[in-house]
Symmetry: C2
């Protein structure tokens, strides 16, 4: 059926947004019922900036004990999750606070469901088991990008075989709270800022490009978020300490992926699946990979299923032409120009992968995801190979 | 400060949307921890349609005991709340399920906070006390309008003196769940459908017309919702059983008032305050009253503070003129035409109140709300009187 689909939407994350938001982490952690938490973070920038210390102070003031678990890498891996589960059990923690971006949060989520589970946490990621129980989790966000602070999802790479898989839960892995302070994002380097912007836009695209018809309300919400991001992005690149622009980007990143834009509609996710293979094999930044893959995917669709790509071109970039293919192609051109203007790659070469092993990427993609993939226009391996080539 | 404001957004309502959504009321009520609930409903249409029976069946199947509390009138009143509190205490209920629109839900909310409170529930509405505790509450929505199914707010009229006051809570009075089935709204009469549409649009306007600058993300979300509503409204009036159009309107009504569009910005609410006096004194339908008052308020603003009204005209109706006053006035003209086209009044006369007692309305308004009211452009009693006159 192409009618607006039945749905369930449950987003019980408490967002605390603005200057000093991270100072409330102690009270918020107490409110989620934890007494001894593991602080999960990345490669040390949150330590160097003093943020981890501020978070610990707030937790201490609220009477909460802490253990630290740092060193989570970008494109986070299963071996780190196993390490975290072991430490969490040994330390008898009853909650987690992730301080960082998607990698720290997704690792914390994997630990949160892995600790109470009597088996391999990977069972959840490969679809063998459903998450029934998880430790409560809070977030202090440092990178607006993955949207994991407001989603029930998590993406982890299995080191053996470089399989990057995502787990979706409706609410079991949604953070209980998320502290969102735009000032914390002032020090993000331009490339990371821009990659985050491509990531959040891709989260909207994956829901926007849908075969479900007559879903005007979510179409308009998605288009509105895209317009806001496109308006604000150049400002944060030009002036990294522009508070309002950072605030708009930060809140957009959360709303892009909390599920709202997907309510009642089929979703696509092929660009994400295709990029996951690229970042798993070549270690590129996920958002930068998406800036390369998404326009290539859209270009293929302009020839085969242009309607919604054309609507994007018209409504988001104001393209004024009645021909769908033409409106789509012009919109894609504007999108590529936008990505380039904020310093993102739009080809494999610009991404630093001049000669990708497309056969390998396609083989892993369909091994992980099946013979035909995608909700907007299901694709065979011949077609995904063509899309990878369109990104060369 | 005019920067994007710090905010806290916590919306832990579980939305179950689509055909048959009300059949989940039993399981959802069990999940909110209630065992013996009061079913709160209105003037009997939900009984006649068989909806109350279906709700009771679902609750019974889940092992939940019920008591019924019907007869809640539009513009719900405090005396009914006292009656409900008395019955709830006598019956030892531990939760409520409101079946209806804003009146049933707002009455249920007042009962929910009144039952555990050792004093007069009105203390919460006149700002003397903050709600600390409330019985859990679920909703089966029949009228998309008030947005109370997704808000922490409630509006009740005190019979003595006809004071209509609203209570806002962040999450204490948010429903635990809301069942939203577009098919249930098929039988709504056109005038009630249209009044609901004006009400949800007004909920967006009150947040959209803000002095907070650089809030592009919420500006765009608000504009997107308004565009979707304006697109879908004529369809539900022309064809009351158009499922998708009803679905878009239903979900828009919830999102218009769940707080999302107000995140990080000052709000206005003068049109609502002004209309509350009209419906309290003359008993008109709230949404119809808003279709009269809001354009009048906007017309006054076009002369005194046009910037955001002009943005509305340009972005929502595509008005193409550089002069703010002109863009505002053209946008207001388009809005009045839209309201008229779906059968709504846009003057006091069309509302059935050809000769309103403006002195009385203004006196009550400022007695209830203070000498200067409104977040967008604070208004004296001389100015609100002028706005009432602009609606003649």
């Amino acid at each position: 059926m192409r009618f607006m689909n039945n749905f369930s939407f449950y987003s019980p994350t408490h967002y605390v947004f603005g200057r000093g938001a991270e100072e409330q982490v102690g009270e918020l952690t107490k409110a989620m019922g934890a007494h001894r938490v593991m602080i999960v973070y990345g490669m040390g920038s949150a330590v160097r900036s003093g943020l981890i210390e501020r978070v610990k102070d707030s937790l201490k003031s609220a009477g909460i004990k802490t253990v630290e678990f740092g060193g989570v890498q970008p494109n986070p891996i299963d071996t780190k999750v196993y390490e975290g589960i072991g430490m969490a059990r040994a330390e008898k923690i009853d909650g987690l606070v992730a301080v960082g971006g998607g990698s720290a949060i997704d690792t914390a989520k994997a630990i949160a469901c892995g600790v109470p589970y009597n088996g391999d946490f990977w069972d959840f990621y490969c679809g063998k088991k459903t998450v029934k129980e998880a430790l409560p989790l809070g977030v202090v966000l440092t990178i607006p990008a993955a949207g994991s602070e407001g989603s029930g999802n998590s993406v982890i790479t299995k080191v053996e075989g470089l399989h990057k898989l995502s787990l979706r839960t409706e609410s079991a892995l949604r953070p209980k709270f998320a502290c969102l302070n735009p000032e914390i994002t002032f020090t993000l380097p331009p490339y990371q800022t821009a990659s985050g912007i491509a990531d959040m836009m891709a989260h909207i695209f994956e829901r926007y490009f849908s075969q479900t018809e007559n879903v005007e309300v979510t179409d308009r919400l998605a288009e509105g978020l895209l317009k806001a991001i496109i308006e604000e992005a150049p400002k944060v690149i030009a002036n990294p300490t522009d508070y309002d622009a950072r605030a708009n980007i930060l809140w957009s990143g959360t709303l892009a992926h909390n599920g709202l834009c997907g309510t009642g509609r089929a979703e696509d996710w092929v660009s994400h699946f295709m990029e996951h293979e690229v970042s798993a094999v070549y270690g590129v930044t996920h958002g930068a990979g998406l800036a390369v893959i998404t326009p290539a995917w859209m270009t293929y669709m302009a020839e085969h299923c242009p309607a919604k790509i054309a609507q994007f071109g018209r409504r988001v970039f104001g393209i004024d032409t009645v021909n769908d293919r033409e409106a789509a192609l012009q919109g894609i051109g504007r999108l590529r120009n936008f990505f380039s203007s904020i310093g993102l790659p739009v080809t494999f070469e610009q991404l630093g992968v001049p000669d990708p092993d497309i056969d390998l990427l396609v083989a892993k993609l369909h091994e992980n995801k099946g013979a035909r993939i995608g909700g907007y226009y299901p694709l065979t391996s011949a077609e995904t190979a063509e899309i990878y080539r369109l990104a060369l």
